[in-house]
Symmetry: C5
Subunit: 261 residues, 5 copies
């Protein structure tokens, strides 16, 4: 973990990652209700909102669409990922090298680690290479820290999420993206486990505005440093409204009520 407060993906110490790698991880089904969002340009447009500190996409989307938005959007290239056609133990193919990510203009890189999977050891070794290459290119590293696989019956219980954020710190990430452990108290523990490293909440599937913003408020109160969000923004009819609210909660310390007004 290094101090990344001067990085373009951080604003006033916090982070809001707009993620759109669902076409790979989940497939077209995530776009069933919003088919226009199959065009990545639409999400890049959304990412120009000031609340968003970077967009997280896979290599192919990055090289195809980022050039048109490089002045207005910061780029996080997600380096690994796997389709949900995959039936094996949780694993994630390294789809992009750090070198290529840097070449196409990345401001940061992202990497999924499935702690507890039969592939944990292999993934941790891939992470080593990615992390050290990222250091050479001066790129912050965000770990999608998702314990999952054999032996893990519940991947959002507090102890698991706390372990997830600690793993990210120990292995050298700069930001941990973890699932919400169900309570503000549990989130506070997960944040504490990360020492001085930033912890952001992973957005998850779509909920109501109030419920979502309120959870994020809880994350911030718990000492978290923001959010990585996908469906809860780009599956909405009006992404701007929710981003306005998130901006209030994350950067201005507003309450949910104030932010939603």
């Amino acid at each position: 973990m290094l101090d990344i407060d001067d990085s373009p993906i951080v604003r006033d110490g916090n982070v809001l990652i707009l993620a759109m790698d669902h076409g790979l991880e989940h497939g077209p089904v995530d776009f069933a209700d919003v088919p226009e969002k199959l065009d990545p340009s639409t999400v890049f447009e959304t990412a120009t909102h000031d609340a968003v500190t970077c967009i997280a996409v896979q290599k192919g989307v990055a090289e195809g669409y980022y050039p048109s938005y490089e002045d207005d959007v910061n780029l996080l290239v997600k380096l690994n990922g796997t389709s949900n056609l995959w039936m094996g133990e949780p694993d994630s193919a390294v789809n992009c090298s750090v070198e290529y990510a840097a070449e196409i203009g990345a401001d940061a890189v992202g990497f999924t680690l499935y702690g507890g999977s039969n592939h944990e050891v292999e993934m941790a070794e891939e992470f080593r290479e990615v992390q050290e290459a990222a250091r050479e290119h001066d790129l912050p590293v965000v770990m999608w820290s998702y314990p999952r696989g054999q032996g893990l019956k519940n991947d959002t219980k507090p102890g698991t999420i706390s372990y997830a954020s600690r793993l990210a710190l120990e292995l050298g990430a700069d930001v941990a993206k973890v699932k919400y452990p169900g309570s503000r108290e549990a989130m506070a523990h997960a944040v504490r486990c990360a020492g001085d490293m930033k912890v952001v909440m992973s957005g998850g599937s779509k909920t109501t505005d109030r419920e979502f913003v309120s959870t994020v408020e809880g994350v911030m109160d718990a000492g978290g440093h923001g959010l990585a969000v996908g469906r809860n923004v780009w599956q909405r009819e009006d992404p701007t409204r929710i981003l306005d609210a998130l901006e209030g909660v994350i950067y201005r310390g507003e309450t949910t009520d104030a932010a939603l007004e």
Copy 2:
């Protein structure tokens, strides 16, 4: 995905790949009715037709026959492939490096990815290396995107084909070659999932002229960018006639009826 409209394998925005890797993938049985086509020269001759934007062959055929046709044919070297003697989960050996493909004059490279196979992760990582090396050599990358393997009971249903074209976009291909999903509407969705990346239909086994050309017309109407075809051309007695028709449908927007006249 990059803009490849200026590439030799594209004509007026569209692509017609004449594929002849069946000797590896299917074996001599595909030539049972056309034994003269065992001589790769015959298919290179066919590839000189203006409708064909490139021929797709494996390394050995490329190095043996392309030199005699380099002025009249564009070369796509298919970089992986496996015999049908293989009994394991779908997999494909990387038979040629991008460097060697470039050295023998390739204008583009091709790569099969079996999403959903037990080998998906491994193949996606091989694709990463191929794709990034192709970028260095300025060679367009065509992905044979064929979900297949454990857990996939039907590899041509619409959702699978749409996922296939999206995978190609996310992972950094420039063209996705997918199977026909059974309807014009499903094809249109698959095309939409690919964003600005080109999607071409994979030809499949031999049918009648009308049926084949009509399907291609549907692909073009659905927003597709052409065709990769093998048996439906070189297994015919008169490849020129079908190529003439395909030229009309693909590049001049003709109807099947007009094109077949």
Copy 3:
């Protein structure tokens, strides 16, 4: 094995490693009673005690916290490790390269080898690379030599611990960190098996002051060269008191009684 007596991690021929990689290996549960120690700074503070010849941490903690302590603490980067979410045969991911450890200021490196595991061969080959790279960077190598896995029913019986220390010698470590084999006599044999290489005892879970210091006294009497300790120091309310006592026993040859006064 090389002579490392001039290394910063050795004081008067002996070694006291303060280990804090529990956040990775055991998870947050080890901090349940001492939540303030989740902040790595607190353990770095403890490591400034003169008795401590180096702190052993994983890469992420090293790069985040060592810079503030580099004048007062010597750094041992533990190069491999695995979470206890891992359900497979004992294995340990190589989380940090020797090159990167050197770059962030390491004075020594550490590596776990699970002799007898199904992964023994693979781990021994990883150790070869680590050991030879460490030689290039002039960094002493400490092996956490822990026979474990299929076929090993008791990993602390005397013959196993003696084998553990011999493995470290044969494979080229400079210090072996082994579990206490249950008696002074058995420890003396383990030390003898290591030839001129140093053997230190691995601290284990928390016990009383007297019991712990007395065991260490036995290790020194048996010819051992010190201790690697974690929980028995930083899980205590007053780490200084126990370190004062260990200093007496390890470097001044005091008895437990004298040292605890």
Copy 4:
């Protein structure tokens, strides 16, 4: 496939490889009746016969014995092979690099591919590296193309041998060494499947002079380009006589009767 007619291993368009890797592949049992042939010098002597265009041996025999024969014998280094103590699916260890083969004077290299084995993909990828390195060193590549393994009940049936020769063409070999498919017609088809690439028959176990030469005559009539032979030459009391006959059949187009006189 490249044109190798100017290579030292080709005489008037044809090839006769004297193979002696049986000590590795079959073990000493192949020498039970001719123990004097355990001394590789004896087979190198035989290889000085004008009919032989090269000797095929493993690395150790090449480096030990070729230096004494380099003026009179051309050397093909067989790059992979496995003992028959191996009980797993057909596989073949890469025992020699192309670089080392070139260094010790190889005029060509040989490689076994077991199409249809569980190791087909891995072997094909090893072949890629070998073939491309051989191109750099300007060394012709002979593929021992032997479909074998799970799912293949009969490895000499016509369709299998035709597939074998086609695989060699597609993957970039310059010569395919295949088993005799049982009839002249089947051999002719296998030759046709190889396009312009040379196909030679693999000699097999010892038979009578007439039977053996007659089979070779059939191979030549079928369009084949010669023979790779081991036991049928060096297990005989008088290798010269059979080589004289083979010279007639292979290079002068003689009938079996004429050649045996």
Copy 5:
């Protein structure tokens, strides 16, 4: 196989390797009756006897003890090995690189190959790398050629030992170390299978002076080139006496009776 008669590890055409890697391969149990030999210096002292052409040890022992004996002892670094805690199919970790062995002063390198093991292919490929690197460093290569594993019920029967020595020749070793096949005649066949390559007998567990020296006499009569011995030397009270006898038998062609006097 190269001519190594000018190598320091050869004396008058023969070889006597004093092996002491038992601490790794067998563990401390081999030292139960001679605990003073746990100190590698004692065995290095023994290796200064003129009969010994080199000592064979693992990397860690080599780097720790050879510097004090480099004027009086020749060093063979054993490059692979595995503890007997290993429960899998026979395998051997590559514990030292050829480059590092050369750097610490090796005069030769040693490598175990378990022909017939499920790991044969992998080990043979590791041997390729080792052998070719050893050629670059001009270091003779001794193969511990030990067929073992699934399907091998008796690893010392004559046919197996003959195959073992042939494997070493074919794969490029300079000396094969094989088990005694039970009779002088069988040993003679094993020697013959090796062509011009040297074959030495592997000493095995401790026997009487007469029995041991007599077996070695048989090996020499059978055309063998010496011995690799460990326990039969350093487990004795008086290693000098047995080495004096071996010197007579191996280098002066004495009978057992004469040599033991």
